[in-house]
Amino acid sequence: MFEAYLLNTWYASTVVAVSAGIIGVFVIMRGDSFLAHAIPHGSFAGAAVAVTIGLSPVTGMGIAALLSALAMHLLGKKGRRDAVIALLLVFLLAGGAFMLSMSGDYSNQVYALLFGQVLAVTDADLLTMSILALIAVAMVLCMIRPLLASSIIPEQARVQGVRNNLVALLFTIVIACVTTASVPIVGAMLLFSLLIAPPAAACALARNPIHAIVLSCVFALGCMWASVALSVLTDLPIGFFVATSSGCIYAIAKFVAHVWKH
């Protein structure tokens, strides 16, 4: 399980878990789970285009995630997430599958990008991923006070001089970075579960934001490591284990929180 060819996998999954754990708490607090659902869809199309024209998938994914993050930010301004976004998402998925079908090695690529692949991490990918994750975490740490303020009480934050709009824009870029770093491992379809479930579990149990972040990282790491181990042992897709284990953690946390209250 700890052979040399799996070292990249362990390292990458740790990076993914820690960054998703930290950023996820803010996703939950801001109620941005829709963004976390939508941006990976965009990155799937980007990766597909990149594979077709011969770039590394991570580059295409990064550009597409950033573009779709900006588009969501602009479209979401009106406060309505309407039919156009649902249609755009579906179009991006279909377009991604279409691009891959043009490039030959169709079905396995689609499968890997949608549901993740433990062994797909190369050294170069690993470096890009780590840098992206680092940028995302650094951005969050730099703006942690305004971010917290505008997430919890936007009106008061504005009175105190926080530019909510700018914070929202920067945060969508953070989500784009994390998406790009994580999709090769977890897959576009299931990154959502990692960004939402462990942080939501942590938010149900923790008393203050710092607790929540620490707890969320612990949960995400637990999920990720357990999933990698199980996936290597059983040869089943990692996305399945990530989704079910993080779902279980959420259910247990909700139950514990419920018991504490009474």
Binding site: L87, A94, G95, Y106, S107, N108, S193
Partner: protein, 294 residues
């Protein structure tokens, strides 16, 4: 015209056009209500959950339509029971259920793969193809489409009433819970039909796209449904024909039919939006009914 007649001679083409048109009409009726009720989100989630059934059916070697149908109707009723049919600002529970569903989809797909490639199952369940439909399922698809349309017609008035004003409907003796549950069942059938034609994760397009166009173009509900059905059928026909003919244009690699249909639907929707913003169409049936979700 001759080209069309030639195409009609091809067995796959006939199946694709018949199934596509039937499904487009059924999803148009259901979709208009879905959009009006602000349940686009429910429709989208049901497609994700339907893929669990589709992939399980693929694994067991059963007709995928049964898998889609069972999973999406059950999921629809489940959503109704927990009360998560509408999007709620910060409700992450729905998201987690969806993600877990997708996790199971990936498990079933992996289990059903032979050798080392899980891809073709994933592509077949998630992205589907009208050309790959077994002609023997056509009658079943038509019956299901008919059932959903008839059921929709039966609950037409009360459903419209509940959609526009739940309290008033309740006061007038409409059984809101029953109507909502029946609608979720019908929506489940619609999602299953969409999934079998354009693939599980793309069926949102067929459900929401033409319906939104119809609601932009028409002034009244009935006209909206007719317009939606028209847009749906045209997208499917043009998509199927373009995909079929692209075999000759690109030298042996045809474009995926689901992609062609989805791209056309998006284009139609954008054109409708442009028409509306230019002031060429001035009323939406939804706005007249007092609901603005379009």
């Amino acid at each position: 015209m001759n080209v069309l007649m030639d195409l009609w001679q091809v067995q796959e083409m006939r199946t694709a056009l018949v199934v596509g048109s039937t499904v487009a009409v059924a999803t148009a009726c259901i979709g208009v209500f879905t959009v009006l009720r602000g349940q686009s989100f429910a429709g989208h989630s049901l497609t994700d959950l339907a893929s669990v059934g589709g992939s399980a059916a693929y694994l067991l070697g059963v007709n995928q339509l049964w898998g889609f149908l069972a999973a999406s109707v059950l999921a629809g009723l489940g959503m109704h029971a927990i009360g998560i049919e509408r999007i709620r600002g910060r409700d992450v529970a729905t998201g987690i259920v969806l993600a877990t569903g997708m996790g199971f989809t990936s498990l079933f797909i992996t289990l059903s793969m032979t050798g080392n490639s899980g891809g073709s199952a994933a592509v077949s369940v998630l992205f589907g193809s009208l050309f790959a439909i077994n002609p023997r399922t056509v009658p079943l698809i038509c019956v299901l489409a008919l059932i959903s349309i008839v059921a929709m017609a039966l609950i037409w008035r009360p459903a419209l009433f509940v959609t526009v004003s739940p309290q008033l409907a309740h006061a007038n003796g409409v059984r809101n819970g029953f109507i909502n549950a029946s609608f979720m069942c019908i929506l489940g059938i619609g999602v299953a039909l969409g999934s079998i034609s354009v693939g599980a994760i793309l069926s949102t397009a067929l459900l929401i796209g033409p319906a939104s166009c119809g609601l932009i173009l028409a002034r009244r509900m009935r006209d909206a449904i007719v317009a939606a059905a028209g847009v749906g059928v045209v997208s499917v026909w043009v998509g199927v024909i373009v995909s079929y003919e692209s075999y000759h244009w690109t030298g042996g690699q045809s474009w995926s039919v689901s992609f062609c249909i989805v791209a056309l639907i998006l284009m139609m929707y954008l054109i409708c939006r442009v028409l509306r913003s230019l002031g060429l169409v001035n009323a939406a049936a939804g706005r007249k009914a007092g609901v603005a979700h379009v």
